[in-house]
């Protein structure tokens, strides 16, 4: 089924793509367009500078961070972790996604200096994936209890958890 018309960019997003490509050039490691959404992949060291430019540039004006999330791809051996930021521009009503890929144990600079709303999102990403955000004011467990062990949204973390809540199978004949 040909669905190429769904993947076309709107004129506003084409302008965004043009501006970011001319500004950052080779720093944008990958560009993808899917369902009318524009995604750029940048290196972890360019993370903050690209996000800052997206916010400060008057023509882009991505003044809001809609959400910041992590992801885990165990198949990618060198860079299994991914952090994505969904940006929104209220005046232009455009959206953009910036992603970066991280190795195990590699940290990322915090975006709380650009958007204070990144605070909870980064805490959640850290507790769920173990991605450390350098310079975050308070990188502690947010949704889980402080004593929680492990990073539950990693793919190797079992769905039923590590402790408690399991169905016991060693009770045969005892009940």
């Amino acid at each position: 089924m040909a669905q190429s018309h769904l993947d076309e960019l709107s004129p506003a997003l084409k302008a965004v793509q043009k501006e970011l490509t001319s500004k950052f050039g080779k720093k944008l490691l990958d560009t993808s367009v899917f369902r009318g959404e524009l995604t750029f992949v940048v290196a972890p060291e360019d993370w903050v500078s690209v996000l800052t430019y997206c916010k400060e540039s008057e023509s882009l004006a991505f003044d809001r961070l809609d959400c910041l999330l992590g992801n885990h791809y165990p198949g990618r051996t060198d860079q299994p972790f991914e952090v994505a930021a969904n940006l929104t521009s209220i005046p232009n009503t455009t959206r953009l996604r910036i992603k970066t890929q991280l190795a195990e144990g590699q940290s990322l600079a915090t975006a709380t200096g650009i958007w204070p709303s990144a605070n909870f999102d980064e805490r959640e990403t850290w507790e769920m994936f173990g991605v450390v955000f350098e310079g975050h004011p308070n990188l502690e467990r947010l949704l889980l209890i402080p004593e929680f062990k492990g990073f539950p949204l990693r793919k190797d973390f079992p769905l039923e958890g590590l402790v408690g809540g399991r169905i016991r199978t060693d009770l045969k004949g005892k009940l």
Binding site: T93, F120, R141, L143, L144
Partner: protein, 424 residues
Amino acid sequence: MSAPSQDQAPPAFTVLRPTLEELRDRKARTRQPVRDDREVLTVSMGPHHPSMHGVFRAVVDFDGEVVVAVRPEVGNLHRGVEKLAESLTYHQIIPLTDRLHYVASFAQNHGFCEAVEKLIGLEVPARARFIRTIAHEMTRISNHLLWLGIHIMDFGAITFQQICFREREYMMDMFEMLCGARLTHSFCRIGGVAKDLPDGFAERMRGALDFLPTRISEYERLIDQNRIFLKRAKDIGIFTSEDCAAWRVTGPALRAAGVERDLRRNEPYAAYPEIEFEVAVEYEADVYARYRVRMREMQESIKIIRQCLDNMPDGPILAKDAAHVMPRKKDVMRSAAAMVQDFMQVFVGPQVPAGEVYRSVETPHGELGFHVVSDGSPKPQRLHIATPCFFHCQATTPMWEGEMLADVVGIFGSVDVCLGSCDR
């Protein structure tokens, strides 16, 4: 009393709209200055506190009666929806989204289905889009009524909650008629809705819509002239548009700050592009403005439902797409093709393409976003839910600082937070 002279023209009616600078100024004036040299009293509000709208805990430092610092603590209701979703097919996730926000559950179903449909590239039939719009606006009315009762209770009027629940009951009854459930609807499906409108739905709905506006104006008479409410709501909790953008505060709180952003208009979905409605915008950015936005939104929702009922198209309520859509149960027992389709959807799941989308819809609380990452299998590789309440809980820090203890409860109520949605 002498009649006004004809040659003197009446003064033109002008709405005073404060600019961003004026609002910043007003915010600085209404907030108490925070001083470092004073001893603070640390108080833990919540998680079981009658004014906390759920199990939200805030550790607050007070200097006398003034809030110095806030540390919001969420997560008491964390159920691991995102982890759970990775082990379920897209059809099976729909009931989970109900439980995110149990007051506006259809809005959450709808948002998720819109996201999956965007991922698939699926077009929803016109009748299903109109039914979705009706259900979404019913959710908005029932949510705002519940919010209104609880919010006024925050200011000390206990009876008002009972009055609002009386009217909310009509919406609950309509939902029961529509899908059999009153709270957790699970009414949306990928590619359409679960059921067609039942017989007599339109008449009963029109009956409810006929008296709701009179009831809403009755509330407005009760509240808008209440000196206690006005004193405690006007110029309290000012949160300007730039604060909203920085802290991702959306929905009525954003529109109360003078920003005309409503995803029903800006990124249209369902039947909203074919329907005429106004986006309720207020400019004062305080607790009272948020209340006004919600009251006007209820009136708009009534108009939207009326238009949907009047222009309801005929046709199927599910898309014809065997690879992604669960067929209707009554067809499954009658046609072999539908039975095979049902079998494949239940045992294998929808065949979605690999890709990554972010879709957000305008729920009664704000913009609810679903970030779906698919690797081509029937289960999502990752589902992230950016709920408005998560960010509204976070925004208690800038909203409360410098305010008085007695106002904190009202300010928290005015942004409308549901902790089930926040903690996921």
